[in-house]
Symmetry: D5
Subunit: 96 residues, 10 copies
């Protein structure tokens, strides 16, 4: 099933630069790992903002939550989660 | 280039049922036509609402606007448009 | 899996009273049918408002959406859907 | 009587990690104690956010407030409280 | 126990004047009846708006809801309900 | 004349605990002093939040402002002020 | 004492034009009458909107409310009321 | 001086089509007349919405308001006005 | 021409008290200087908040902005600017 | 194609003054460089706020995003991006 997750990242000015750099690198690695597994189906950057629009293909809300917890930048995120389903006018069979 | 468009449909109670039925049928036909052309890349229903999340692959904002104007239900829509671009962590080349 | 759905009902003043009465009766019947099936797990009235807080136990967002579409009052509803999952501090095993 | 409480937790980046760890452990213990007593009736995690949806079964608003004050993470919480009552279509007798 | 209810009244321009007049008279009578019973503890007009701030002294959220349903103008109201309790600095014993 | 003041208190995590404790004690003393004088007519705790709903009986907005400035916690407060007046359906003469 | 009132006027498309014209004329007459009396101290048009910013010099919130009720366009208004008082840096004595 | 005006047009479903068509034609004529005079400096369509972003070069807020009043679609508009001035980093002299 | 500026002041808890005191004194001096010049036409305190409502009589938005930049507390301010003009019902000639 | 970007700058009180000064100088240089290239088409200051309204003429959302990332003050910005296109009533050919 699909969930859209809109993530807005706010890294406080007071955060330790070294810690932040490490988190950024780990975040990229984790994101690419999840994309390769097919779970992180779409990942787009919102033009002009430190934010992204993502679509996850997961078994359940619990699975989605575990993925979000696994993201190094999660503590700096403000997220909005929207449950999606196949649109009656969609021509794609796998947009469940 | 990609634009996310979130469409919320509110058909007034006073609208003529026959007119509405015609518009709904035309909307479905138009949506499927645009999907087949590759312009309407993703069309998902928001679970629990008369709303959808769509991603369009167009040449420009003008092209996007013309497409929206061509949707029979456009007069009943409240829309939010978000310009997207390829995320630096994306593994997909064509998520421009 | 569980979804919280907050439903706010606004019946326009201009709606045909007979139509509304029929919808209200059908809504109650449908709600009780779904509760007996275990799908509509919790249904509470928000004190002081024509609104409710519900929790659905469904297979997927699609199943949730089909249920919402089946509610006679759906056209008069403003809804907010929140995907839930088991809290790490929960002592209940079935609060998936 | 039932109150829904939506709790959003924001732990400032500057908080002392040791203090935070202690609070998290105490919060879990307190939450499980209250669930066992039947007062904390439902506790769900909001998928994708550091937030929960809870339903408390208490004697009065005062009792609810005392419970909230007793939660170690309360100072880091943004809460929304909604008074609930039995829905006329509910098939459950004890959803008072 | 006490609940603050903020009521904003919006009577549509299209409403039948005779129906509205009757509802206004019935609303006043009902409000005064409830005040005499001690249930409707405070009723203030918000200066400059067709709105009021009220405090109800009731047994439970259900009791509050039944009272709101009994108000002739309820269908025209937008309400906000806030559960109150005795403040630790209050010098009044009965502000439960 | 009456003013409702809704006060939300947010004490920053970085505030000096000793300073905060002193302010809390002074706030309680000041609040009780004002209640005894009849100026602070109603003081209720909002259930589940570090916030209160108060009603002040003062000579003018200036008097109200001076009172608010005199509250030790004022610098940590977010406030909303609503001017009240006697409701035409009120049975109380002194709810001016 | 002074109250700022921000008034936004929304005349429904379905309103009877003759009724509206009469109300507009009466509104102007009433506004000028109140300005001459000194009660309606300031009346400015918000550039680009069917809205105004006004400052009233009245005895109490009740007096303000009665004035607002006396405005023919009041039923079409959305208002925001702000209680004002003399600023400590003001060089004007009568900005009470 | 420059004012940005964001205009959102909502034509009610119940409006008389003939009246609307006339207003649309008059609006276009008026807009082009004002652009030729240099007053309406920029007029852009917001992609995907029945809304525009405009920049007016006028003598004063009053002049701006008179222009807005002269637009046939003004009664159907929701507007937001932002006063602009030359940015210290601007390389254009006439962006006053 | 007239601009209403609503200023909300938030001085961070971490600000250096000596710096703040100096800014407060300078702010008062600057405000009184501008009032004497007739530019700062009205300055009212919002009752119950660290905020003010002001009306400036200036040559242009640029002039307004330069004034705002000159206020020592500007870095701590959240402002809302509303362009005003003479209301057609105003009896004052100089409320341009 | 054109994008409007509304930028609100919030420099935290705790930021290192030297770092901030350097960023401000670099921001101005970068902004003027982009204006000279024709990419940053319009840059206006919002009167009374530390914010600007800009219009960019770019090849794609990606190009826009890279420009925003290149702005030294970007980490301190809250931005809103609006995709624009030529208005059917526009008399300018190049307002694409």
């Amino acid at each position: 099933m699909l969930f859209m997750v809109e993530m807005e990242v706010n890294i406080p000015d007071s955060a330790d630069p070294a810690v932040v750099q490490k988190k950024l690198a780990d975040e990229k690695a984790r994101a690419q790992e999840l994309q390769k597994s097919g779970v992180w189906r779409h990942l787009w950057r919102v033009a002009g903002q430190y934010a992204n629009v993502s679509v996850f293909d997961v078994e359940s809300p619990v699975a989605l939550h575990d993925i979000m917890l696994s993201l190094p930048l999660f503590p700096y995120m403000k997220t909005k989660v929207t449950a999606l389903c196949r649109h009656p006018s969609s021509i794609h069979d796998d947009d469940r």
